[in-house]
């Protein structure tokens, strides 16, 4: 029998491999890609679905081609075997899942190249990078081509990017009622990811299920997502309470804006997070606090991306700080200091953010009131009586008013004996067909007839609010003129 001459204990290894961990992540990304195509198809039709598919394929192909070229440049002997051992497809897939569907394909390609070259290769490849490669790519394209990252397809009818839940929230200064904030999308849609957002970030339920699967498989450390999401939940819950908002508010923050995707797939990236558990504690809570901060005072939908990248930058420092042997017997002063500091930061930031959100909301509301006041005053100035002609029992007022496409004249005839409106007419106008023109030519004008001038009751017409309102204002002006005489 031959015996092994040399070797070192131990001679056994666990069945767990890096390959398995990476394949787990790739599988999750592919499932999310399929969900993304389905979601886009549902929201924007076949065109959007196909566009999503094309973006995902672009990212995968670009990632593999880029890595292949880099391997050839490096002079790798077995480039093909190595190609599937560097797992470059992961940053490609992650990147495409955190861009919106309207992003041009070439932007995704550029982002992927940046992710792999600047995010990974320059540091020495797998295991050596400091920042999450996909986030490096995402932030690069945000900064370089921000305007192109739209949630609707280029060439779509209205051509404007639909508001994501967080831009919508930011437009309300982060504070509002449930109907203002949630009903815009609907609670069920928010849960299912059926709203404008990045390709893979919306499917909250799917992402949570995948997270649990990965935690059970020990591919990711459950502490990071739980603590990061927990921090965001806790902080937004407190901010919600401070501003009279219910449990829906923290849930809205947790479900939207890519927090779950970021916490489960990106903040758990093995390479760019601290190695010690206490280090990961600091990392996860720090990322949570930064996310809420960037969302509330920064008003950035990409708060999660920036927060994780910032904490990536701190990882070497955290690692250095938490270096050394763990003392199992006692909570060390260092650990107490960390816990106390973290708790203080969370509480202080919550109080600060809650208050500043409140102030911002009050300011914004005051501004809005003032603006509406000004508009009213301005509008009233534009409505004026040009002429009046008495003819027996009736007086006809020639009133100028402001419509959608400029001023026009309304003739209001009032019977003085009965104090009723005889008729309202518009002779010349430039209001557009399909909207204001239709109103003027419709029965709407007859609604005024025979109404008592003390109590004119005519509603504006939806779809042509400005025109109908202009007519109502002209009538009221005429009435107020007759009453003062």
């Amino acid at each position: 029998m031959k015996f092994t001459k040399r070797g070192n204990a131990p001679s056994m290894t666990a069945p767990h491999t890096t390959k398995r961990m990476m394949n787990d992540i790739i599988a999750c990304m592919l499932i999310l890609s399929i969900i993304a195509i389905g979601t886009q198809w549902y929201l924007g039709g076949s065109e959007a679905g196909i566009q999503a598919g094309l973006l995902i394929v672009t990212a995968m192909v670009t990632a593999l081609v880029t890595e292949a070229i880099l391997l050839l440049v490096k002079g790798e002997k077995q480039p093909l075997t190595k190609l599937f051992r560097t797992y470059s497809i992961i940053p490609g897939l992650m990147l495409v899942l955190i861009v919106p569907v309207g992003t041009p394909m070439w932007v995704v390609a550029v982002g992927t190249i940046v992710a792999i070259v600047a995010g990974k290769f320059v540091y020495g490849g797998l295991g050596k990078n400091i920042f999450n490669p996909a986030l490096v790519g995402r932030i690069f394209i945000t900064v370089a081509f921000g305007g192109l990252l739209t949630t609707t397809l280029a060439g779509a009818i209205d051509g404007v990017s639909a508001a994501t839940p967080l831009t919508h929230l930011a437009s309300l200064q982060n504070i509002g009622t449930q109907s203002q904030i949630v009903e815009q999308y609907g609670m069920v849609n928010l849960l299912l990811g059926l709203y404008p957002t990045a390709l893979g970030e919306g499917a909250s339920i799917a992402i949570i299920l995948m997270g649990i699967y990965l935690m059970i498989r020990k591919t990711i450390d459950w502490r990071i997502p739980v603590m990061m999401v927990g921090t965001v939940f806790l902080m937004t819950y407190m901010i919600g309470i401070e501003n009279n908002m219910g449990l829906w508010y923290p849930l809205y923050h947790v479900m939207t804006g890519g927090l779950l995707f970021g916490a489960i797939f990106m903040a758990t990236d093995l390479v760019t997070t601290p190695v010690s558990r206490s280090g990961r504690f600091i990392f996860a809570i720090g990322a949570g606090v930064l996310t809420v901060t960037l969302r509330i005072v920064g008003g950035m939908p990409e708060g999660v991306a920036w927060a994780i990248l910032a904490m990536n930058a701190f990882t070497p420092l955290i690692d250095h700080f938490t270096m050394g042997k763990i003392r199992f017997n006692a909570i060390s002063t260092k650990m107490l200091a960390v816990i106390a500091t973290t708790a203080t930061v969370v509480v202080a930031m919550t109080l600060y953010l809650g208050t500043s959100a409140k102030t911002a909301k009050v300011d914004a509301q005051a501004k809005e009131l003032k603006r509406q006041e000004m508009i009213k005053v301005k509008a009233e100035k534009q409505v004026q009586v040009l002429n009046q002609v008495a003819d027996g029992d009736t007086i006809t007022y020639e009133v100028q008013t402001k419509g959608f496409s400029g001023n026009f004249i309304v003739y209001v005839t009032i019977t003085t004996t009965t104090n009723t409106i005889a008729k309202v007419e518009v002779l010349e106008h430039k209001e557009s067909a399909g909207y204001g023109k239709d109103v003027i030519e419709s029965d709407f004008m007859q609604n005024f007839n025979e109404q008592t001038i003390d109590d004119v009751n005519v509603d504006t017409v939806s779809g042509a609010t400005i025109t109908s309102d202009a007519i109502i204002k002209a009538v009221n002006k005429a009435i107020s003129t007759i009453e003062t005489e």
Partner: protein, 444 residues
Amino acid sequence: MRILSELFKLGYGVHIPGDKKHLYDQELQWYLDPKYVYIPLTNHVKHGLRSLVKVGDYVKMGQKIGERADNIYAALHASVSGTVVGIDKYLHRSGNYVDCVVIENDERYKQVEELEQACCLESQLSSQEIVDKIRESGVVGLGGSGFSTYVKYVSTNEIDTIVLNGVECEPYIATDHNILLNRTDLVFEGLKIMMHAANAAKGVIAIKQHKKPLFDYLVQFAQEYENITIIEVPDAYPMGWEKVLIRQVFRKEYDRLPADAGIIVNNVATAVEVASAIRGDLPLIYRTVTVNGPAVEKPQIFRVRIGTQAKELLALAGYKANVQQVRLIAGGPMMGTIMESDEFIISKGVNAITCLIEETVDGQRPLELPEEPCVRCASCVDNCPAGLQPVNIMIAAKFGEAETIQQLEAKACIECGLCTYVCPSKIPVTQWVREAKKVMNGGK
């Protein structure tokens, strides 16, 4: 506070499949007639113990033939009677070739006379007398450490509990299980003597959970003894390391020795030898050893004389037909040393012989796994029972940063091998930590 401790729960080990259930109800095989025995002049820590005999001398069974007189005392005894035919170098379980006293067995097993006198009860002996007897009998830690047992009982002022370690957390080994089943009375007697020697109030025997028949048997046995309890611990590695064991059972930590926590930990096999020594039986000249592993045809547990060559047992156990090359290990697969030949000596510290398949007949090499780059997954950090950061120690070793290694307290590593075991990239992390220790000691 519970949530916090859950968040940071560390250092309780990892379950490793043991592959030893088939040995639990195996009969003990006696292999007591080797032609030659080779008594290594070492106590594992220090080689070159003083030989008390020379070539040509006739020795009796149980006769002291070697000792270490400095610092920590160690005694070696002849395990057969016969003639000393040489003092030559043979392969020892440390992987080195060390001087061994070779005795040709005359198969008459003549005992030393003074050992034939009747025994005494431990209650008639003082603590000091017990310690002296243990010392003279050459009893060492039989779990694998080979550390002289009496040392633990020299100063016992603060000791309140004696723990008998029957956890046996390494895969493939069932030596302690067999001893607990077959030599139960001696285990309990030994524990009683140890408690008496250390003036300890309590005695604990720790075994792994999921061994219901053994547990029930021991619990029943313990009813006849006062203050002895049987405790089950999780089936995890390295639960048998006294630090982890004490952490698990008593929720206590200590810095240097278990005695700091008022506890002495001994292997169950050691307790048997203590009982034998006090009863006036023979000194330590036998031991139980498991021969197991995927390459073994008939895994067995043997009772052998100290100094038997491993190849004699391996010949009885046999190799499987499809094995081309064997990785032979003195001890278990996690901490045992790889032996370059089957001629190594079963010394006091060899509790098992593990045979892994290095290469099959059709050229497969199951132990060779491709190494991948470290992705800093921190599995090694999360699982280190000593609370170290192996990945950081490895990086510091690669850069030769002695100071960083010192800060990372690499010397607290017991080389349990768990970091290599859990590494998903199949990096020999434990070996890197060994390198780090060399760097720290000045590149040697």
